[in-house]
């Protein structure tokens, strides 16, 4: 769920609940106040009756007024207790008015009313007095107030929803921008995460923290690469010494069969070490994008030259090579392309068996190199990992890593697939 949706849901829900509660309290309070007002009117009326009775020693004449009815009934002395009641107000005065407000469905006009029961003694007669006032006006007032309040609440909710939507979208924009930057963050890339202009402190802080973090990560990564490069570089000199000493050693004397076997092993170990070292250096350079170029390359020609170069090795391993080469021009670094071709072809030779096949197909869209070999597919995600190699492989374990990195640099894709006993590497331009 999006933050905005969640926020809006919670926000609206609480607003509605609070508004409902407030509405109820409001309604109650206004009702109380209005009823209180009505009761005051009733008390004023009662006092008028008492005054009249006190002055004239008789009951006042009962007349119908707009919203008031007074009735006197004789009662046994002392049976009436003074109290306010909810009762029914019967409207005879204004049938039209009453019609709009009647509460029961038959034609008698009843309205809810508030009454006061009290008592008065005139001479030696004891009367029960009932004063009733209509509550209709008070109720109407409440309804209007309630209607206005409800309208205001609705308006408030709508405004809240819309402003939240607009405001939140706008407020969170820096966050989304940052997210986009993070998604495209590449540790080997030289491009930094830009400082997003925002007036929100939290986002500014987030941005700063992320920039700091990415800078630190990048510099650590760079240090690591520098270390790899330096280490490989430092190793080159001792390897060069070993190599030259071996070359000097074989000049010295005659050697027994056993000694020359040992020397041969030493030679191949040193040359393997050299290649491994050079591969590491190369990988670092490619990752650092130190090798760039804009040379026009006729790929077909390069592949043909490479095949001639490998001719003896094909013969040695009795490999059958089939080529289907179309024309393809590239404008990029010759050095990288040569390494890529060399690695892929070397791979196809290395993991082949005696008498196996290699198919090379070049089209405008892709270069496909297929080779026979072990009769099972390889794990695509594993073979491109550094130093991942089959136990019997004599390679450095960096060839495919370098190939993929080169493809990445040149904006190509390199994929592996296996079908009908062919291991297939496809470079898509």
């Amino acid at each position: 769920m999006k933050l905005f949706a969640r926020y809006n849901r919670v926000n609206l829900l609480t607003t509605i609940i609070v508004m409902l509660i407030t509405g109820i309290i409001y309604y109650r309070a206004i009702s109380l106040i209005l009823i209180n007002q009505l009761e005051k009117d009733l008390v004023v009326e009662e006092n008028e009756i008492f005054e009249y009775v006190g002055m004239n020693h008789q009951l006042p004449q009962v007349f119908k007024s707009n919203d008031q009815q007074i009735t006197f009934t004789e009662a046994k002395p002392g049976t009436v207790t003074r109290q306010f009641i909810n009762t029914i107000y019967r409207d005879y005065q204004n049938p039209k008015y009453a019609k709009r407000h009647h509460h029961v469905d038959d034609d008698d006009e009843f309205e809810s009313g508030r009454g006061l029961i009290t008592s008065v003694t005139v001479g030696n007669k004891y009367y029960k007095v009932l004063i009733v006032v209509s509550e209709v006006e008070a109720e109407d007032l409440i309804k209007i107030i309630f209607g206005i309040t409800a309208g205001v609440i609705l308006l408030l909710l709508i405004t809240l929803y819309i402003t939240n939507r607009l405001l939140l979208n706008r407020l969170w924009q820096p966050f989304y921008n940052l997210l986009k930057e993070l998604r495209f963050f590449n540790i080997a890339d030289s491009k930094d995460i830009p400082l997003e202009k925002t007036s929100i402190d939290e986002f500014e802080e987030l941005n700063k923290v992320i920039i700091n973090m990415s800078t630190r990560v990048k510099s650590d990564y760079k240090d690591l690469k520098t270390f790899t490069e330096n280490a490989s570089h430092e190793l080159l000199t001792p390897i060069a010494v070993i190599n030259s000493k071996l070359d000097t050693l074989i000049q010295t004397d005659s050697f027994s069969q056993k000694q020359s076997k040992l020397l041969n092993d030493l030679y191949s170990a040193v040359s393997k070490l050299t290649r491994l070292n050079q591969s590491l250096l190369l990988l670092v350079k490619i990752e650092n994008r130190l090798l760039e170029g804009n040379d026009p390359i006729n790929l077909k020609l390069h592949i043909q030259e490479l095949i001639i170069q490998f001719e003896e090795i094909f013969l040695d391993k009795e490999l059958i090579v089939t080529c289907e080469l179309g024309e393809k021009e590239l404008i990029t670094s010759t050095y990288l392309v040569d390494i890529l071709l060399n690695n892929l072809l070397s791979n196809a030779i290395r993991h082949n068996y005696k008498g196996g096949r290699i198919n090379i197909k070049l089209t405008d869209e892709s270069l496909v190199i297929q080779n026979t070999g072990e009769n099972a597919p390889l794990q695509e995600e594993e073979i491109f990992i550094r130093f991942h190699k089959s136990t019997e492989s004599e390679g450095s374990g960096l060839g495919l890593t370098i190939s993929r990195q080169i493809c990445e640099n040149l904006k190509f894709t390199l994929n592996y697939s296996y079908d009908t006993s062919y291991h297939t590497f496809t470079v898509t331009f």
Partner: protein
């Protein structure tokens, strides 16, 4: 020939010196920038082997000063730096060749010989070894006056042997010279043997002596 070896790594310097030391060759060495500068300004050499990273300064500066003084000494850079830019910078500044460490001494020797040959023959492209004559420009080989047809690899092999005559050249070095990096793909070096056998056969059929000898299963030696 007179050679100056500018290299700070003692082990490597001594090996190179020993490999080049023979009758008719003079080898001098320098192990740091100042020593190298004083030697190149005082004497002339047929070829200078120049390491780039030196204590006290950069080999590139030595190269620059050589070229400023219109010095015609051949310069071969031997460096651990393998990037294209380093190579191009070296060659642009006037070095004759660039060899990346680690290298086989026989490879170094072949390159130095090629540089000196270019410098000293001054346009003459004929390399003569006893009865074998090689036209370097036409890449044609004659034994006495009989022309023989060599493949590209056999021709390269012959030049490599002649440059390293009297030395045992390992199969590794030959393979790397002829096939470059791809050579580790081969199961063994048997196919080198077939190239050498063919070269030997062609030379001897045309009347040359048998100069190529196998050396204890490790390599070959080209001797008088």
């Amino acid at each position: 020939m007179k050679i100056l070896i500018i290299e700070d790594e003692k082990g490597l310097r001594e090996s190179i010196e020993e490999y080049f030391m023979e009758a008719g060759n003079i080898c001098e060495t320098a192990s740091n920038y100042q020593e190298a500068m004083s030697k190149v300004s005082l004497y002339t050499y047929d070829c200078i082997l120049l390491d780039i990273t030196l204590p006290g300064g950069s080999g590139i500066d030595i190269l620059k000063s050589l070229k400023q003084n219109n010095n015609t000494d051949g310069v071969l850079i031997i460096s651990a730096k393998n990037s294209l830019d380093d190579r191009l910078e070296g060659l642009y500044l006037g070095a004759d060749d660039y060899l990346v460490k680690p290298f086989h001494l026989s490879e170094l020797r072949a390159r130095v010989t090629a540089i000196i040959r270019r410098k000293t023959f001054n346009g003459s492209n004929l390399l003569v070894f006893n009865e074998i004559g090689i036209d370097l420009l036409a890449k044609a080989v004659k034994v006495n006056s009989t022309a023989i047809k060599l493949t590209r690899k056999e021709y390269a092999l012959l030049l490599y042997f002649i440059a390293n005559k009297g030395k045992v050249v390992s199969k590794n070095a030959i393979a790397e010279h002829l096939w470059g990096d791809g050579i580790d793909l081969a199961n063994n070096f048997d196919f080198i043997y077939s190239h050498i056998k063919n070269l030997r056969k062609k030379l001897m059929e045309a009347g040359s002596n048998d100069y190529i000898q196998a050396a204890y299963g490790m390599g070959y030696k080209f001797t008088d």
